[in-house]
């Protein structure tokens, strides 16, 4: 088998790409894409640890399931917000999302 | 006419390795395939279009020749059956549709109108005198006003003969 560390490194990389995206992207949908990457990186870790060091009740996988559900809910709401703001302000750039004024 | 020469141009011969026998055989195969699967464009202009529809209908059943797949998008069809009168307002559209068809493409001019303007040749200020006047090279003319469905089938057979007898241009 592959050493666990390698999988974790992959997940770290994806995570950092996500962080990079979150920090630099101005486009709101891009931003959400990056968030998805971060969540997925977490999921990779969960599954990998579950496989290598997991308990018998499959906690890691169940947690990953929950994360997927949460991610789904988050992107549903996040995207509809983006669309709503876009329709209001004609912009998809986070800089323009001045939620206080909105 | 020129269309046919273009299709199996020199490039094919260059690209397909093998002896001339093999080449001839593939060419036959290609021609056979091209001629056996002529998908027409769903495109009716005038009275002749009704006869074209009838040709697709149960009594004549153009599908027997493998040409029953009427495609609405010019991107997916092989033969354009110009069925009816071409008028000045229409001619650009027809040309555009023809241009948008992918090679190898063929044209059947159905009905005297599409051939020469036919019954509207004289005295008409708005009828274009045939498909060739629009700049569309016609492969087979199917005369009649309108041509009988059998005649259109005959035209398709003629087109198949024509395709089958094309030889690739030697480089």
């Amino acid at each position: 088998m592959i050493p666990l560390g390698h999988i974790v490194i992959l997940s770290m990389f994806v995570f950092c790409v996500g962080v990079y995206g979150v920090l630099t992207q101005r486009h709101a949908i891009r931003f959400l894409i990056s968030v998805e990457l971060i969540l997925n990186a977490a999921n990779i870790n969960l599954i990998a640890f579950n496989k290598y060091l997991g308990t018998a009740d499959g906690l890691g996988q169940i947690f990953a399931l929950f994360i997927i559900a949460v991610a789904a809910a988050a992107s549903v709401v996040g995207l509809i917000l983006v669309i709503a703001v876009y329709r209001l302000k004609k912009s998809v750039f986070i800089d323009d999302f001045n939620l206080l004024k909105w | 006419m020129a269309v046919n020469a273009k299709i199996l141009g020199a490039e094919v011969i260059d690209k397909v390795p093998g002896g001339s026998f093999f080449l001839a055989k593939t060419e036959d195969l290609f021609n056979w395939a091209k001629s056996s699967s002529l998908w027409p464009l769903t495109f009716g202009l005038a009275c002749c279009a009704i006869e074209m529809m009838v040709t697709g209908g149960s009594h004549y059943d153009i599908d027997r020749f493998g040409s029953g797949v009427f495609r609405a998008s010019p991107r997916q069809c092989d033969v354009m059956i110009i069925s009816g009168t071409i008028c000045i307002k229409m001619k650009d559209s027809i040309k555009r549709l023809y241009d948008q068809m992918p090679e190898p493409k063929y044209v059947i001019a159905m009905g005297n109108c599409a051939i020469s303007g036919g019954i509207f040749y004289h005295d008409s200020y708005s009828v274009v005198k045939g498909a060739e006047a629009v700049g569309i090279p016609v492969d087979v003319f199917v005369a009649g006003c309108p041509p009988r469905p059998e005649n259109l089938l005959h035209g398709i057979i003629k087109l198949q003969e024509k395709i089958n007898s094309t030889k690739a241009k030697k480089a």
């Binding site: - | 000045i88 307002k89 040749y121 004289h122 005295d123 008409s124 200020y125 708005s126």
Partner: protein, 150 residues
């Protein structure tokens, strides 16, 4: 109410505008077009349907011909307006009939008669960048091959 009665009522209602009349046809002056049709449509004649608008080029003049039709009395009345060649303008009937829209556009396209008050006086059958009105007797165009045999 038959056709003579309708024409009679017209003559009575609009004295002086009927230039000419025959069994099923009246000729109007241009100015009277709108009121007369209004009366024909909403009055006792009940000619609710504008059946057709066309024109005839009489070389010096152009006749605009209207056919109106009454379901109630089962009559079809022909109304003509004669326009001089140098002033091809006539009030549009689009305010009375939706049908007038395209029909008038067609007459404009083919004869060059302008209908005043028409919301969309464009060519309808011929390309918009055309000049000339093909059904005029003096229409000339390159590429028209006359029939050789007379």
């Amino acid at each position: 109410m038959d056709i003579t009665a309708i024409i009679q009522s017209l003559v009575e209602k609009f004295p002086g505008v009927i230039i000419d009349q025959s069994a099923d046809r009246v000729t109007l002056t241009k100015e009277a077009v709108l009121p007369v049709f209004e009366f024909l449509k909403n009055g006792p004649a009940a000619c609710v349907s504008l059946h057709g608008v066309t024109a005839v080029d009489r070389k010096e003049t152009v006749e605009v011909v209207y056919h109106v039709h009454s379901f109630q009395h089962r009559v079809m009345l022909t109304v003509k307006v004669i326009l001089p060649n140098d002033n091809l303008n006539v009030p549009s009937l689009t305010s009375l009939w939706g049908a007038a829209d395209w029909m008038e556009r067609e007459v404009f396209d083919l004869f060059g008669v302008r209908f005043e008050g028409h919301p969309d006086m464009r060519r309808i059958l011929n390309p918009e960048n055309w000049t000339g009105h093909p059904l005029r007797k003096d229409f000339q165009m390159d590429g028209v091959v006359p029939r050789p045999v007379k």
